[in-house]
Amino acid sequence: MPKAVEHFIHAINAAVKNKKPLYIRGGNSKHFYGGQLTSQAYDTLDIATYSGIVNYEPSELVVTARTGTRLVDLETILSEHHQMLAFEPPHFSENATLGGCIATGLSGPRRAYTGAVRDFVLGVRMLDGRGDDLHFGGQVMKNVAGYDVSRFVTGAMGTLGVLLEVSLKVLPLPSMEITLGMQMKESEAIDKMHQWASKPLPISATCFYNDNLFVRLSGAESAVHAARLKLGGEEIKQGKSFWQSIREHTHPFFHSGGRLWRLSIKSSTPKLLLPGQQLLEWGGALRWLASDENLNEKAIRSQAEAAGGHATLFYGEKSSAQVFHPLTTYMMTLHKRLKQKFDPAGIFNPGRIYSEY
């Protein structure tokens, strides 16, 4: 067993013994995201040093890496073999690690068309709250042996254990990619995105902002050319950097209000009537709302719920509002029970999702 893993186990055992929680940290690029640790006293468990590719077989479409591996390094190696993480995870800093990417479960512009982080997770190696070294899933595409723990821990904000290694399905880089832009109103854009999505077109991202609809086409040259003719619009030369700015939130919109809300809702929902600026992604299924601090949390949450989804406070002062959408009483009980099974002493990242556990 590698020294680092022994060290992690030791830290877990000590945390249980001393009843002092652990704050699991990769590159510290997404510390702003999620709830604050509920405990004042905690020890930090740094996983960034536990890095490296464990196995990569381009022809198997699978990569296994240690969770401290920087996303940028992983993506560089994949691109050398003309492959990619198809869920386009946001980095938010060059130090972002694979572990943080899996734990936060955030996906980028391609998500609505290719899948989310959890869709590409094939297996994990992790330490639970007993310090047990566990493997779930594997390095193969199809695996239904046992419960799907690997996907279950994805997006759990580190509350269920310390992720050590992750196996991911990777996809080939598209041989061609272009971005089209067209001017229209929001309601028309929502209609258009749905019309296109019901046809077999190689769309890989959509974004609506400020009366402009942006569409990215990715795939074989023949497919991209044919689709371009069907869609119309103007080709945007700086397409690549535009999508990068959406993925990494460097586009000015994301910092234009005091708070940024993320509303994940049914894609066909008409324009949301909430004060503040909005930016749409994922064919309408993701609505970012930049608002000021005074906007009523309840109004946002009830609109998101009415639209079949939920709202997350992404950026902004969190003391006066909850970050993640509240759960029903039954669901909260179930969450607490599951958390307790993985982490009986409650030492992993308490409060990073909900203050209750």
């Binding site: 899948g115 193969v140 799907d148 999505a197 497919a223 994940s264 066909s268 759960l327 909900y354």
Partner: protein, 484 residues
């Protein structure tokens, strides 16, 4: 509570023909698609509404009666094998398609709806439901969710877990909860992933919202014959390495080719050691492009014969042989036993050689059909259940195949589930701490262990008995090669 009391309780709200308890009525339910395992249930309940299912669960919960859910009973691992002191809960009558939303491209359906019926209902909108297990004309979507079913197109379009948005689940207490949502993600833990493939152990699925995809403009198939399995396996790797994700990629070995050709006369090359079927779909222009590339790669990989489907009927004819592999096996042998391991593709040729050696050792023939794109192997062991000891020999052969899959870095089940069939192999694939966590997850949902007890996760006792054979996946199996 006595059996009689339970029957009268059920009959108090269910029509009389929806509660079965006479021996001859129970008979049809004593097994699922894995007929080697049989067990007569105490009672079969056939509710027609969610309210009825809830009442049944409430009674079972109050009386601590085991509940085994069943859809169409096409499962191949004994997941719906009844419990002799339990109720077999058939969900086959909950078969309504509740809503199709052509704009958001979703369908909300009851668990007893057949897989293919969803695509048929979506067809007028140019949409379909992508996962297509071979049994799709019969199998139900509830069963698909319970098993996380795949199909021949899942390398490109994903498994059930990738194609569902929301579940309405009834807990063991009979409470309805929503898991997932109409959005692409949900707050809290990913219970949708946990529920999918949980083999009826965590809850009863009462409603499913699936994603629908636009039908591809065109699909076309390349059929290539190889005189060497290794070359066919290399062709698969070369296609993937060239950046192509085929819509489907299937391989058959020599013995399968012969069995199928005798049966169907599909025009397969009888000299071939392996036949590879590779499908491209999408826009017309891109399909033409991709088919050209695939053919060239097949050629360069040493194919001895290449045929490209000229039209839809020819494409279906090429597929027919592959789809007839099971019936063809049934024709050349009184019984067959279907295995379901998944391996890293690069180990294919070696694993097939190992299976051949075992086949000679056990004196049993074995056909190999293979979802080559995703490494899912379906060896069909041919046997005769009327020969004393032959089923036992077959099971021992099958167990060895699964062990080979584990050793190759794969898994004991790619899409058929563990059920009762692969409990022993679960002891090999998972360490006790991992199995303990599985039991703990089950407990979080079902503390009394009433839902499909004895399936999917082996008891500690069972694994302890197997102890002597226990081999762990050691770290040395996956050499660590830090790259930076």
């Amino acid at each position: 509570m006595s059996r009689f009391e339970l029957i009268s309780k059920l009959c108090s709200f269910l029509p009389h023909n929806a509660v079965l308890y006479e021996t001859e009525d129970l008979k049809p339910y004593e097994c699922d698609g894995l007929s080697a395992y049989r067990q007569t249930p105490m009672i079969v309940a056939l509710p027609q509404t969610e309210e009825e299912v809830i009442k049944i669960l409430q009674i079972c919960h109050a009386t601590k009666t085991p509940v085994v859910a069943r859809g169409a009973g096409t499962g191949l691992s004994g997941g719906a094998l009844p419990h002799n002191e339990g109720i077999l809960l058939s969900l086959a009558k909950l078969k309504h398609i509740l809503e199709i939303d052509p704009v958001a491209r979703t369908a909300r359906v009851q668990p007893g709806v057949r897989n293919l019926a969803i695509s048929e209902a979506a067809a007028p909108y140019g949409l379909y439901y992508a996962p297509d297990p071979s049994s799709q004309i019969a199998c139900t979507i509830g069963g698909n969710v319970a098993e996380n079913s795949g199909g021949v197109h899942c390398l490109k379009y994903g498994l059930t877990v990738h194609n569902i948005l929301k579940l309405r689940v009834l807990t063991v207490e009979g409470q309805a909860i929503e898991i997932g949502s109409s959005a692409l993600d949900s707050p809290g833990y990913d219970l949708l992933a946990l529920m999918t493939g949980s083999e009826g152990l965590l809850g009863i699925i009462a409603e499913i919202t699936v994603k629908l995809l636009p039908k591809p403009e065109k699909a076309q198939l390349v059929m290539a014959a190889f005189n060497d399995v290794q070359k066919a396996a290399d062709a698969v790797a070369n296609i993937i390495s060239a950046g192509i994700i085929p819509a489907g990629m299937e391989m058959m070995d020599k013995i399968t080719i012969h069995a199928v050709e005798d049966f169907l006369h599909a025009g397969y090359d009888l000299d071939a050691a392996a036949i590879l079927l590779c499908e491209a779909d999408g826009m017309t222009e891109e399909v033409a492009d991709e088919i050209q590339k695939i053919s060239t790669i097949m050629q360069d990989s040493g194919a001895i014969k290449i045929s490209i489907s000229r039209d839809e009927s020819e494409r279906l004819r090429f597929w027919a042989g592959r789809k007839a592999a099971f019936p063809a096996a049934g024709r050349v042998s009184p019984d067959y036993y279907c295995m379901d391991g998944t391996i890293p593709r690069k180990r294919l040729a070696q694993v097939l050689r190992d299976i051949e050696t075992l086949s000679a050792e056990y004196g049993l023939r074995c056909l190999n059909v293979f979802h080559a794109g995703d490494g899912n192997l379906h060896p069909l062991i041919l046997y005769d259940a009327n020969q004393p000891g032959e089923l036992e020999k077959t099971e021992a052969f099958g167990a060895r195949i699964l062990e080979i899959c584990i050793e190759a870095g794969g898994t004991i089940t790619g899409e058929h589930g563990v059920g009762v069939e692969k409990l022993d192999q679960m002891c090999l694939q998972f360490k006790s701490a991992e199995r303990n966590l599985f039991h703990a997850i089950k407990q979080a949902f079902d503390p009394d262990g009433l839902l499909n007890p004895g399936k999917a996760i082996p008891s500690l006792h069972r694994c302890a008995e197997l102890g002597a054979m226990h081999v762990h996946r050691g770290e040395d199996k996956f050499p660590t090669i830090p790259r930076f």
